[in-house]
Each structure stands twice: as C-alpha cells, then as structure tokens.
C-alpha cells in the first residue's frame, strides 16, 4: 500500500460492525407519546482492519458521526452487533467496559470545546491516567504526560498552561495527546481537522500519519472533506441518509466510483486549477428527512437512474472486487 511505507499491514479486523442501527425516538406531548424515530444509522456494516485508516464521508446529516459514536458505544445502538478484536463488544459490562475504553479514543472537531477551560493541560491529561492507570506514581504520570506532548510536537512546558493560551492547531494537538496517552488501538477522528486553517491542517494530518505508524494505530476518520479523506484513508465508506452506499479502497473509489451518489460527490469537488475542465453532475434537491426516509433506496429522490424497483426495496450488494462493493441496481 502506498501509505506509510514499511508499516505492517494485515487484513485482520479490529472492529467489526454488523447491521448497526441507531434510532433516536421523537416524543411529543405531555405524555411523551412516541411519534416516530430519527433513523440516524439505519443498518450498516463495516470493518476497521488493524493498522488501517477507514474514512467515512457523506454530507452533513447523513449519520456519519452517529455511526462513529455508536460503533464505540458512546451512544448505545438500537440494534446490531459490534465485535472488537473478535469479542462481542455489546455484551461487555461495567468494569470490563472501562478496560475496553482504554483501547478506543476519540478526537472531536472543535478542540477548544473539548478541553475544560479551567483545567491546565496537566490537569486534563493527569485525570485520565489517574482513572485508568491508578498504579502509576505521580512521577511516572508526569513522565508519560511530557512524553505524549513531545510525540504531538509540543514542549512539556505546555503542561502548566490553560487551553486558551494555545492556538487552534495546538489545541487539537493536545486533544490528540489526550487520545494517545493510554496507548489505544483505535482512534475515532470526528472531523478532527475540519476547523483548522489549511497550513495547520497539513501539520495535523502529517502528525496523525506519523503517530499511526509509530503507535500501530487504526483510525476511523469521519469527514465531509473529500480531499482530506483521499489523502489519509486506506479505505472509504460513503454514507447517505443513514445507509452505506459504497465501500471501497481509496484509490478505486476515486478512480472508479460506482454509486451515482459517490459520482455526484466526486464531481462536486472544486477543480484544482482554473484551466481544468470538469464535468459536473450535481443532481437537484437536498438530503431528505431522516424521520421519514424514502422507501427503497434512500437516494431515489435525487437519482437520475432511479427505476421502479428502487422505490420498493434497498438494492442488493454488488461486488466489484475484494475491496470494492456498492449498493445500487446499476
């Protein structure tokens, strides 16, 4: 594979998600009648392999963040199965779950909102070590904290400072330091570079790339930015309205997109050079409501190739080759 020359690559799954569903109930009136559901994730399957970056793309409101959070039980799924390292993650309870939490970390879009403004960086990092690694002495904790700050390219002097004393890029580095301090195996990056300026975004992407290699990490990289996804991901999942419509290796998705929605997304990317000729097929209309998604294929309201069967049932999986599959009648 092109990414990270020399890094170990195997096809062993780390996190497997099977027919995962997450519905948020809508309650109305003083008796809290259950009047419907927001079907944020509506039956999806995906696998994150060891030492792999799996990207999730889609427009806002397609359920990509909910998919990420539900897959690691930050919100409990409505239905489905999750296997972490071959073990049924949904059956894990209390104390055992705490042990699992060490292996899975998450970094959010807005670093300033995810750091406590009244805690120093040392305070923010130490809390995690005290909770998950009570056996460490204060001296050990401090060493570990200095070490992770160096790993993310900050000086250990940062420990004494408060979040507002850092720029956005540095704050995001601190959030990444917090995510790697327990030596996790999987990190969910939910729009982790979207709020950063281009020059800073490039620095953080490089950092993520290096950390992945050094620490043997796997990432679930959630983003709406296709060029960032293309840059960092090995495989990509395209979501539309709570469903996965296409899964593919990064190269194949960009060179040979199969699903009309993927084709539309790719054609909407701005061109690289003013002289580049680009044919654009962006279909009219917007993403429908998740409360009453269209029956059959969710894309049928915008798809120019929609046929009668598309309105009746969700299309079957079509396999192009071992790492490229899509859900469409075409």
């Amino acid at each position: 594979m092109k990414s990270g020359a020399g890094c170990m690559k195997n096809n062993e799954p780390l996190l497997e998600v099977k027919s995962l569903k997450k519905f948020f109930p809508i309650m109305k009136g003083i008796f809290r009648h259950h009047t419907g559901d927001v079907k944020a994730v509506n039956g999806i399957d995906f696998t994150i392999r060891k030492n792999e970056v799996l990207g999730v793309v889609g427009e806002s409101g397609c359920g990509k963040s909910t998919a990420g959070r539900t897959a690691i039980r930050l919100t409990e799924p409505t239905e489905g199965q999750i296997l972490f390292d071959g073990k049924d993650f949904l059956k894990v309870k209390d104390r055992e779950l705490k042990a699992y939490r060490k292996h899975i970390q998450i970094v959010f879009q807005n670093p300033y909102a995810s750091l406590n403004p009244r805690k120093t960086i040392a305070g923010a990092l130490e809390e995690i070590l005290q909770y998950h690694k009570p056996e460490l002495t204060p001296r050990n904790r401090e060493d570990r904290m200095s070490q992770v700050l160096q790993q993310v390219g900050l000086s250990p002097d940062a420990l004494e400072l408060y979040p507002h004393e850092f720029s956005g890029g540095q704050q995001q580095r601190i959030c990444i330091a917090r995510a790697i301090i327990l030596k996790p195996r999987l990190i969910i990056l939910d729009e982790a570079v979207s709020a950063l300026d281009v020059s800073i975004q490039a620095q953080v992407l490089n950092l993520l790339h290096d950390l992945k290699r050094e620490l043997n990490l796997s990432y679930l990289f959630i983003s709406h930015d296709l060029s960032v996804i293309r840059h960092i991901c090995d495989r990509i999942v395209v979501m539309y309205l709570g469903k996965i419509v296409e899964t593919s290796s990064s190269e194949k998705l960009f060179s040979n997109p199969k699903h009309p929605y993927t084709q539309m997304l790719l054609s909407a990317i701005p061109k690289n050079h003013p002289d580049e000729k680009k044919t654009r097929n962006v279909y009219k209309g917007e993403i429908p409501s998740m409360i009453t998604p269209p029956s059959g294929c969710p894309f049928n309201t915008r798809c120019p190739y929609a046929q009668e069967t598309c309105y009746r049932k969700f299309p079957d999986k079509k396999i192009v080759d071992d790492d490229h599959e899509y859900f469409c009648i075409l």
């Binding site: 092109k2 990414s3 427009e59 806002s60 720029s167 890029g169 540095q170 300026d197 281009v198 020059s199 800073i200 975004q201 490039a202 620095q203 992407l205 490089n206 790339h209 709406h224 296709l226 060029s227 960032v228 293309r230 840059h231 960092i232 960009f254 539309m264 997304l265 054609s267 909407a268 990317i269 701005p270 061109k271 690289n272 050079h273 003013p274 002289d275 580049e276 654009r280 962006v282 917007e286």
Partner: protein
C-alpha cells in the same frame, strides 16, 4: 474602474494600542469579474470587506484610512446617510453563516420585504412579486410557501440561497461574499458557485470573494489577492497565481492542500502558526515561517516587485532586482 481600494488601513484599539488589522491593501474590482481575497483566519480578509461596507464594530475599530473609490467617489468620506443608500443597494454582502445572518424571529419573506421597501420603494403585491422572482432566480422551489417560513425551517443551502436572493434583489453592482460556501457541503457548494457564476454572467455583477479555499478560487475567480498578517503578499490574475505563484506563503498554501490527484504521503506544511495581531513580526511578517528566509527579511519590510505578466505583483525580498 468600478471599485478601487487604495492603501486601505483599518486599525483596532486593543489594550490601548492601535493595531492595523488591514495594512496598506490596494486592489481593483472590475465589472463582471470576480476578485478573490485569499488567506488564513486572522489575516484581515473579512476586516477588508467590513471596511468597504463601513460596518466595522466601532469601537474597537477606528475610521479606516486610505481610499475606497466606488465609481470614482471615495465612500470612506461620504456621510452615513449617503452610505446607507449605497450599502445593500449598490454594494451588497453575504456572510459565511446564513443562520446567524438571518433574524430567527421574522419570516424569510418579511426580511426580504424590508430590503424591497427600503431600497426599491416597492410595496404590496408589487413587492411580493419582486421577491418571488428573486427567489426563483436563486433556484428556490415553491417560493410562495418559503416566504412564510422562518429561517430554522430551511436547510443551510436554502438559507444561503435566501441570503444571496436578499443581496441580489436590488441588483447591486458589487457583491461581497465572505466565505459564502465554507459552511456548506460540497454538493451544495457546487450549486451555490454555479448560481453565483450564472447571475454574474446575466447581470454583470462584480464579486469580491473572500475565501481560504484554493479550489473555490480555481472555480470562480478572475483575479486573486493573497493576504498574510494584514498585508497583501501577492496579487495577480488567477493564472498568474496558479501557474507562477511567487511568494513563499502562496506556495505554502498550495503545497499544504491535500490534493485529490496527487500521491499520498507527507504534506508540505508551513511550519509554525499565524502570528496574533498583537504580535506581528518585524520586517516581512512571514519571515518567522518562511523556508527561504534571509537576514534582511527580519530587518526591513519587503519591497513590492512587479513580475512579468499582467499585474502580477509580489511583496518579497527574493524577487528584488
């Protein structure tokens, strides 16, 4: 020339000190053309737009210095009453976040009606018809119904279309668009850019586009001004910038962008971070992060150098003859 900005300086009073957040910016905007102001957050590109509209928050901002010539008249020195006839009518602006730019307690129709009453002097059915046409032009389906809806009932793409309709309803000469598509998805972004392009072709509106996205620049701009730390570091036609980018910062901006076509691996990021307005470095403000830094860069401000083709101009010691 439709709009000429000459040596514009806008200062803020911060902690008792006067700090220039727009420092000696000059550019020309031509009828039917698009000029893009490019730079990272905090480089003063939005402040430039607010200075042109004269809607800076005062205080902390001080009266802008320099000249902004709209059809030959300096709009920095005219009275507020006269400016009110220009603002919204001849020079209109759309903002990054349509949700915060629209008033949540009034219907979309009411907010459009205000503009029509004030600037076009139309009332009643005539005004409603004008609004209906404006909403159709920006591609809003069933405008009769949308008129009675509140901003929260519409999606992000729809509210941005409403903002554009509101800005264009008086057929302004100049449209200032401050990051108009940054908050939107790529598919909606493509639709909005197409819309701006087609409206420009039909009506000859000049667009001042503020963005940090080189892709958007490639899509729509004719001329480009690259800003860094309140100064313009390079300007020229879009082809000057994309084919013969000269300033190390401009090159850095291009290289740090993940590219769909290019091979993956390390991105050539610019080291360091954008300096805060209170602590701009001496000399060339980019010298602290510049890969080509020389001794004199820290000492004196870089000279403006004209490069061969067209109006291509760069402010850098590397090109001094």
């Amino acid at each position: 020339m439709l709009l000429s900005v000459r040596n514009l300086v806008t200062k803020l009073v911060l902690g008792g000190k006067h700090i220039a957040v727009v420092d000696d910016i000059s550019f020309d905007l031509k009828t039917g053309k698009t000029l893009a102001l490019v730079g990272e957050s905090g480089c003063g590109k939005s402040m430039t737009a607010l200075s042109i509209m004269r809607i800076l928050p005062q205080p902390p901002a001080l009266q802008s210095e320099g000249e902004i010539l709209y059809r030959g008249k300096n709009i920095l020195t005219i009275s507020e009453a006269k400016m009110r006839h220009i603002r919204g009518k001849s020079i209109a602006m759309i903002f990054q976040n349509p949700m915060t730019a629209l008033n949540p307690v009034y219907t979309v129709g009411y907010q459009l009606l205000e503009t029509v009453n004030l600037h076009l002097g139309l009332y009643g059915d005539e005004a409603l018809e004008r609004i209906r046409i404006a909403l159709c032009e920006v591609g809003i389906p069933s405008p009769e119904e949308r008129i009675n809806e509140y901003p929260h009932q519409l999606s992000g793409g729809m509210t941005q279309r409403i903002m554009i309709a509101m800005a264009l309803i008086c057929e302004p000469d100049i449209l200032i668009a401050d990051e108009p598509t940054t908050a939107l998805d790529v598919t909606i972004q493509a639709q909005i850019l197409d819309l701006m392009r087609s409206l420009q072709e039909r009506k000859g509106t000049a667009i001042l586009l503020i963005t940090h996205d080189m892709g958007v620049v490639a899509e729509i701009a004719d001329d480009v001004v690259v800003m860094y730390a309140a100064k313009s570091v390079e300007k020229g036609s879009v082809r000057n910038i994309f084919n013969d980018m000269a300033h190390p910062y401009t090159r850095g901006l291009f290289n740090s962008r993940p590219n769909i076509a290019a091979v993956r691996g390390e991105l050539a990021a610019i080291d360091g971070t954008v300096p805060p307005v209170t602590a701009f470095p001496t000399g060339c403000r980019f010298h602290t992060r510049c890969p080509n830094v020389m001794e004199k860069c820290a000492e004196a401000e870089a000279p403006k150098v004209s490069l061969g083709a067209g109006n291509h101009e760069v402010r850098c010691w590397l090109y001094e003859k």
